[in-house]
């Protein structure tokens, strides 16, 4: 074996490894469909941008939970921090349009969340699933209470009103139909998704999966486990913060509800519902979860939770790995059938 001409195995291995980060047909179709929603469901653009934002939160949970294996119920806190930071930036604007520019707002929201995320990441480095769950939840509840108490800044329980971001990049004004909001949210989601995708397919991403799989061994091969976990927790906080900023900009307010426990719980539910550890799980989960909620809510505004509950229970009892697991099973069954005939 010479160093100049690689062996066929090496060529193949390289192809396989790189192929894993190549875009698949299903993925491309998924994103084309996502953008095509603009024309497919012109009356549902508000709901769709909300789904995109939720999908971004679920994606951030996936980075921590699905890849690094840290159970978290605190992502709502970062969402809320992002929302308030971006909301305040847009509201006060510092007299310049730059501060109220939505894109700058995204960085302000994401950055604020990342700072808090970094600071609190050290709390989740040890402990069992249950401990991490409760610590992240505790942090979120404290943030919630802080938002409630700092009325002079946040508007307390009435929420932060008067968030009027300027046009996106100074060109596109937010409109009532939610057209700009949808395209804007989806583009942000897509960009961050591409980054997350690169991240999880990189050696860094691989190391997260390794940490989740076997912490003893990762230490034995010399991996700085804690540094990796801190890094991914901070990145995920940034993502959730950006999602919060998007929410504040597209709804033009921020309320304590954005920090509330149910945001975190919903994000985790959607991810597990969709299937954790595949990036797409959170997206699919938020699409299906919110669509179901909307459809059922229109049919029975009082009792839609019942059917949602039944779906969750059935999914856990009969399927492994959420919606993606279900799709995988169906695909496998279809292939077997195809192979047999």
């Amino acid at each position: 074996m010479s160093a100049i001409t690689p062996s066929p195995e090496a060529t193949r291995a390289r192809a396989v490894l790189l192929g894993r980060s190549r875009w698949g047909v299903a993925e491309i179709i998924f994103w084309i469909l996502a953008f095509a929603c603009y024309w497919l469901f012109p009356t549902k653009l508000s709901l769709l941008s909300e789904i995109a934002i939720l999908g971004l939160v679920a994606l951030s949970v996936d980075l921590v939970l699905g890849y690094a294996g840290i159970v978290t119920l605190g992502q709502g806190a970062f969402f809320g921090i992002g929302a308030y930071a971006a909301g305040l930036a847009a509201k006060h604007g510092m007299g310049t349009t730059l501060w109220s520019d939505p894109v700058i707002g995204l960085f302000i929201g994401g950055g604020a969340a990342a700072v808090i995320g970094f600071a609190t990441s050290f709390l989740v480095l040890r402990g069992s699933d249950m401990t991490r769950l409760m610590v992240t939840l505790g942090v979120a509840l404290i943030v919630d209470e802080v938002v409630n108490q700092m009325k002079w800044l946040t508007g307390g329980s009435d929420g932060l009103q008067g968030v009027l971001p300027s046009a996106v990049l100074g060109i596109w004004e937010f409109d009532l139909f939610g057209r700009v909001a949808f395209v804007y949210s989806l583009v942000v989601l897509f960009v961050l998704f591409v980054v997350a995708r690169a991240l999880v397919k990189s050696p860094f991403g691989l190391s997260l999966q390794a940490i989740k799989g076997n912490m003893l061994r990762t230490r034995a091969i010399g991996m700085p486990v804690n540094a990796r976990l801190v890094a991914v927790y901070t990145v995920a906080a940034f993502y959730a913060g950006v999602a919060g900023a998007l929410a504040a900009q597209t709804t033009q307010f921020a309320s304590p509800d954005y920090v509330a426990f149910h945001r975190s719980a919903d994000a985790m539910l959607m991810l597990v519902f969709g299937g954790a550890g595949h990036l797409y799980g959170g997206l699919l989960g938020s699409i299906i979860f919110r669509t179901m909620q909307d459809v059922l809510g229109n049919i029975t505004p009082q009792y839609w939770q019942f059917w949602l509950g039944v779906t969750l229970v059935a999914l856990v009892l009969f399927v492994r790995g959420g919606i993606l697991g279900l799709l995988g099973n169906m695909l496998a069954a279809w292939r077997r059938k195809g192979g047999a005939s």
């Binding site: 009103q161 139909f177 709804t251 509800d257 809510g297 839609w304 939770q305």
Partner: protein
């Protein structure tokens, strides 16, 4: 006598329904988007309003000025971003002529920009922070505001030998509104507020606050919690025996919510509150209203939320009549300004400048009537403005 009235109203409703349906095909439809919390902690508010709205429609038909009225109910789960999205969808997709509902202040505030941008009137049937109406020129309120309901309590207290008061309110917008209004009015009349206690919203346990109030030994303890939370609070107020310690319990009618009052127990007898509506309000309109409401809703007693919905629907009907079916939002808001009608709660009107509700506020005492607890009104402060 009541029965005859009910039968009559039901007959009218039936007739209207029949004619409405037969004419529907040829008729233009006016849609009203009702955004309410139907699930979650504020679900009872949503249910009361929905029942009030449906009762109005049952009694007054579904056709106004030749147009068929259709309501679309959406559940915002009490989350402001949902209220906003649903409002947008109702305006953009369903082309509603009115938005209505809004169970809590932040939910209403979130919808304000939509109403302004779409020029669609938004009728506030529940939310009670005073500032909401000013935030959009398309807001009209048929519920009440906290200062409106609170100030009379302070006046009555000052006039009835109460010198010192401790206030205990829920720590959120309306609560603070109420605290502020009480303190200003009461101290303006020479009283003294010893302490202002604020209980977190998500809190089932009031022991610490009540004990503190008791230890301060005021003449009275003023209470405000949002509709639906009065039961827990009053249970603990009763348990702490403040009355025995010589502390009078006063508050806004939210605490002695008709929806739950009867279950709260005899400990409440003698409590003084001020509010805009009592199911025991003594008027023929209200007697008919209560009877019909009980019948239609499996004996659920109507509370102040339900009249907010009932009167809100009335305002919508009257506005349409006035514009002769024109659904231009600006004209509809104009038509509602200055509107006056006799509601089950008494005479009400929409202030022409503020678009807020002007109504009588009553001082009431919890009493047992026919074996059931009611807020029995004993003094009226007429025509109190909602906001200035």
């Amino acid at each position: 006598m009541f029965r005859r009235q009910i039968l009559k109203s039901i007959g009218v409703a039936g007739l209207a329904l029949a004619t409405g349906i037969s004419a529907a095909s040829a008729q233009e439809v006016v849609k009203v988007g009702l955004i309410l919390p139907m699930t979650g902690p504020s679900a009872s508010t949503g249910r009361q309003i929905e029942a009030g709205v449906r009762l109005w429609m049952a009694q007054n038909g579904t056709t106004v000025a030749g147009k068929k009225i259709e309501i679309i109910i959406k559940d915002d789960t009490g989350a402001a971003d949902q209220s906003k999205r649903l409002a947008t969808e109702l305006v953009v997709n369903d082309k509603v002529a009115f938005l209505a509902g809004f169970g809590l202040t932040p939910l209403a505030l979130a919808v304000g920009p939509v109403a302004s941008q779409a020029k669609v009137p938004a009728v506030i049937m529940a939310a009670g922070t005073s500032t909401i109406v000013a935030s959009s020129p398309y807001f009209v309120r048929t519920s009440f505001t906290l200062p409106q309901n609170t100030a009379p309590m302070a006046q009555w207290s000052a006039a009835n030998n109460i010198k010192t008061v401790v206030t205990l309110v829920s720590d959120y917008g309306p609560g603070l509104d109420s605290e502020k209004a009480f303190k200003a009015e009461f101290e303006g009349k020479g009283g003294k507020v010893l302490d202002t206690l604020r209980a977190p919203m998500m809190n089932p346990e009031f022991a610490a606050f009540l004990q503190k109030a008791k230890d301060l030994k005021p003449d009275a303890l003023f209470l405000f919690v949002p509709s639906g939370q009065g039961a827990s609070l009053m249970k603990q107020v009763g348990e702490r025996e403040l009355a025995k310690a010589g502390i009078k319990i006063i508050g806004t009618g939210d605490v002695t919510d008709d929806d739950q009052l009867n279950g709260m127990g005899d400990a409440l007898i003698g409590m003084i509150t001020s509010h805009n509506y009592s199911a025991a309000h003594d008027s023929p309109e209200n007697k008919a209203y209560v009877a019909a409401f009980l019948k239609a809703n499996n004996n659920m007693r109507p509370n102040f939320m339900s009249v907010g919905g009932f009167d809100g629907m009335a305002a919508i009907y009257k506005a349409l009549e006035k514009t002769k079916g024109d659904t231009d939002g600006t004209k509809l808001v104009e038509a509602m300004k200055g509107l006056a009608l006799v509601s089950p709660r008494g005479p009400i009107s929409i202030d022409a400048t503020t678009r807020d509700i002007t109504q009588n506020v009553y001082v009431r005492e919890v009493k047992k009537v026919d074996g059931q607890l009611y807020n029995v009104e004993f003094a009226t402060i007429p025509n109190v403005k909602g906001s200035n």
